[in-house]
Symmetry: C2
Subunit: 222 residues, 2 copies
DNA sequence: TTATACTGACTGACCAGTCAGTCAGTATTT
DNA sequence: AAATACTGACTGACTGGTCAGTCAGTATAA
């Protein structure tokens, strides 16, 4: 029976079902795909989208340049795949947080910690920076990011903020109209650390905590 | 005596005094320099620093490529000269506003209008966007901008915010530590409009007004 | 043996910066 | 005033280097 189940892989089964029982070849191929994605994330993070060299990605992944084009249509498709795989889980987490029945103040604290740990402390901050810095010259990247990531986060945040205003959890109704005001300091932190940290370092966690205190109308001494 | 004063132009006078009575040549040269700066601002705004082509700048300025290198050492020096001439006056204005004896709430409103009119409504927003987007890959540009523009604005803002906290003009002492929190939505607005305005336009003036209301602890209906 | 994955030299396009030569404008001589 | 010598602003073809994407040929699994 082992032979029979093996044979199913390629020949008679319809395309949709075919990817059963990988086989040495398919495994190796999938592993290479992962290696390319990983190497590309490194290169894009370090160099930016336009300046990253496909040759370097290949070298880092231990693969010939042509192999990359067997797995991804072009440089842009490669980048999009990275965005999807890196940001996707985070979007899901955020949607969960917004949907859960938790006090808004608690959500705020959770999101600060989530940002510091899961975005600022990882390659995700580089992905977000890349979208901001390369987006103007590669509109397709911006569109993709808006569709796959931003619009979903924004919708969740808006819905939660509207509920918060209705329930009186927060006093600034404008936040439901401009959820961007909640995220602005986080975006600024990503830009800042990429540009000016050597001249004037920024304590990102403290910055975001201070911002949340302000949004909730809490006054504190410096 | 007419002949004597004429001769002074070139021969006997020391070099430092020579640039009197421009002469057709010097006038033409200065005009071209201006034309190059203007054309370069257009090209950099539209394409970005790395992607702008010196050939295009030359074409737009009605000048040969080589001429640009007679006036500016290289692409980077050309860009720096643009930043200096475009942002310099604004920095001066801001320093004046911070130093003047005006209530902080009034300053806030003035700065919102100043930003909308003199930054967002002009090429200055493009310069700021360029620093944010190209800065990570051209650290010298970021350093130059920090030295010539940002550090000065930041110093003025910090000083004024400290005074405001002492006088009780504002209740969030953290703003003197993180003046970035005041500017973050303006920076986000520049990024946003460059990336996502076609999917979700942003009313920048309203965004900034809402933000100032929050900073001053004023509650309003949406 | 056949099908498939893989390789890397190659192509074509791009572009910052250079430099030998030109010529309008300025100074000097007659 | 006119002829002559000189200067340096200006030109644009060229160089040297970069890099995304291709494809004919090779290796390997089935």
């Amino acid at each position: 029976m082992a032979t029979a189940s093996k044979r199913k892989t390629a020949s008679s089964a319809p395309a949709a079902i075919r990817q059963k029982t990988p086989g040495a070849r398919a495994i190796r191929s999938a592993a290479r795909r992962e290696a390319i994605l990983h190497a590309a994330l490194d290169e894009f993070s370090a160099r930016g989208f336009a300046a990253a060299r496909i040759d370097d990605v290949a070298k880092r992944a231990g693969v010939a340049k042509g192999t990359i084009y067997l797995h991804f249509r072009d440089k842009e498709a490669l980048f999009q795949e990275i965005v999807r795989s890196v940001m996707g889980p985070l979007v899901g987490t955020l949607e969960g947080v917004f949907a859960a029945d938790i006090p808004l103040r608690t959500i705020a604290d959770q999101i600060v910690e989530l940002f510091v740990r899961e975005v600022f402390g990882t390659r995700r901050k580089d992905i977000i920076r890349l979208i901001m810095t390369e987006g103007p010259r590669f509109p397709k990247l911006a569109e993709f990011y808006y569709r796959e990531v931003l619009s979903r986060i924004l919708a969740g945040a808006r819905a939660r903020l509207r509920r918060a205003v209705e329930r009186g959890e927060i006093s600034h109704a404008a936040l439901a109209r401009f959820p961007q005001l909640v995220a602005a300091p986080a975006m600024l932190a990503i830009i800042w650390t990429g540009l000016f940290d050597r001249f004037e370092p920024l304590d990102v966690r403290e910055l975001l905590r201070a911002h949340m205190n302000i949004l909730f109308g809490e006054r504190k001494a410096a």
